[in-house]
């Protein structure tokens, strides 16, 4: 009987295993405290210069647009005034026509009681949109009042 050969065992390499590295290995860093501060300072400086420049550019554009709008305002206002006065007369005529059968009704008042008691008869009061569209299609008034929501 030959001698029994021992099977090869799973043993450590000669000299033993190396040490287990469990400590944190930090990366090589570029930023330290002073460099962070420098970067922040430089970026704030460049950013504030660019910000100021674009603010000035946008303000110039805004002011030029506004200037053009102001230049055209008298023309639009003059036309608007005439249309408003025209419509006021039409509304008054329409009210007189509408309420002619009602006894004791006076145009512009509630059976003789004026809306504004301290104002004179011929004194100007700002005419509201509700009054302007009083005898018009309600859809037109809705379009006027909601038009700003679409801008």
């Amino acid at each position: 009987m030959s001698k029994a050969v021992a099977p090869p065992q799973d043993l450590p390499p000669p000299g033993g295993f190396g040490k287990v590295s469990y400590e944190k290995v930090p990366h090589r860093t570029f930023f330290n405290g002073s460099r962070i501060a420098l970067t922040a300072f430089v970026s704030y400086a460049v950013g504030s210069v660019l910000y100021t420049m674009s603010c000035q550019r946008l303000k110039k554009i805004y002011l030029e647009q506004k200037s053009g709008q102001i230049a055209t305002q008298p023309f639009l206002l003059a036309e608007r005034d005439r249309q408003l006065l025209r419509q006021m007369r039409r509304n008054r005529d329409a009210e007189a026509e509408l309420m002619k059968d009602v006894e004791g009704w006076e145009v512009g008042t509630l059976y003789g009681t004026p809306v504004f008691s301290t104002l004179g008869e011929n004194e100007w009061v700002e005419y509201s949109a509700q009054s302007y569209y009083a005898h018009a299609d309600p859809q037109d008034r809705m379009e006027y009042e909601n038009s700003s929501h679409w801008l």
Binding site: E79, D81, L85, R89, R92, P114, W124, S131
Partner: protein
């Protein structure tokens, strides 16, 4: 509604004038030259409108403004129509609010044309944002007079007012304007 029969309103015939039948884009295109060309009637109208606060009293000024604008656009149509349309097209298609900064090339062409044919130079960009001083021939409207009430609190005697140097000395802690 609020308009009584005693309220004076102009008739339709008084209000019938040829209106400026142009679009918003055309207004924006000609805005600077238009405002410069019609500067005097515009200033007169806006001053009247601001002082009197009543559209009925400024109708003749408004009619002058519209007539002047009509005259300007007629002149432009006669002599600078192609340049005007070119500039307008650029303004309309470059941005949503007719931004002048995007159309300098076409603007220069239009400016040259208006300067040679109509004689109006384009004012500097912020010209219409600047405050204006206008000397009107219309007399100044009277300022509102405040009512005088008999039972108002009497004023302090004159000697005390002369002695006191500051508002705090005059009015004590019951001064609304005193810094807290």
């Amino acid at each position: 509604m609020v308009i009584t029969s005693q309220f004076k309103l102009p008739t339709e015939e008084e209000l019938a004038v040829p209106e400026l039948n142009v679009s918003a884009a055309a207004f924006a295109t000609g805005a600077f030259h238009l405002g410069k060309y019609c500067e005097e009637p515009c200033k007169e109208f806006m001053l009247c409108r601001d002082e009197l606060g009543d559209p009925r009293k400024c109708l003749s000024e408004g009619k002058q403004v519209t007539a002047c604008g009509l005259e300007f656009f007629k002149k432009v149509k006669k002599s600078c129509l192609a340049e005007f349309i070119q500039y307008e097209k650029c303004l309309v298609s470059s941005s949503s609010n007719y931004e002048y900064a995007r159309c300098r090339k076409t603007q220069n062409v239009f400016d040259e044309c208006v300067k040679t044919h109509i004689g109006v130079e384009r004012p500097r960009p912020f010209y219409f944002c600047e405050p204006k001083i206008h000397d009107s021939k219309r007399p100044k409207p009277p300022t509102a007079e405040y009512p005088v009430y008999g039972d108002a609190t009497p004023k302090l005697p004159e000697e005390k007012l002369k002695e006191a140097k500051t508002t705090f000395e005059r009015q004590g802690i019951f001064d609304a304007g005193r810094p807290l």
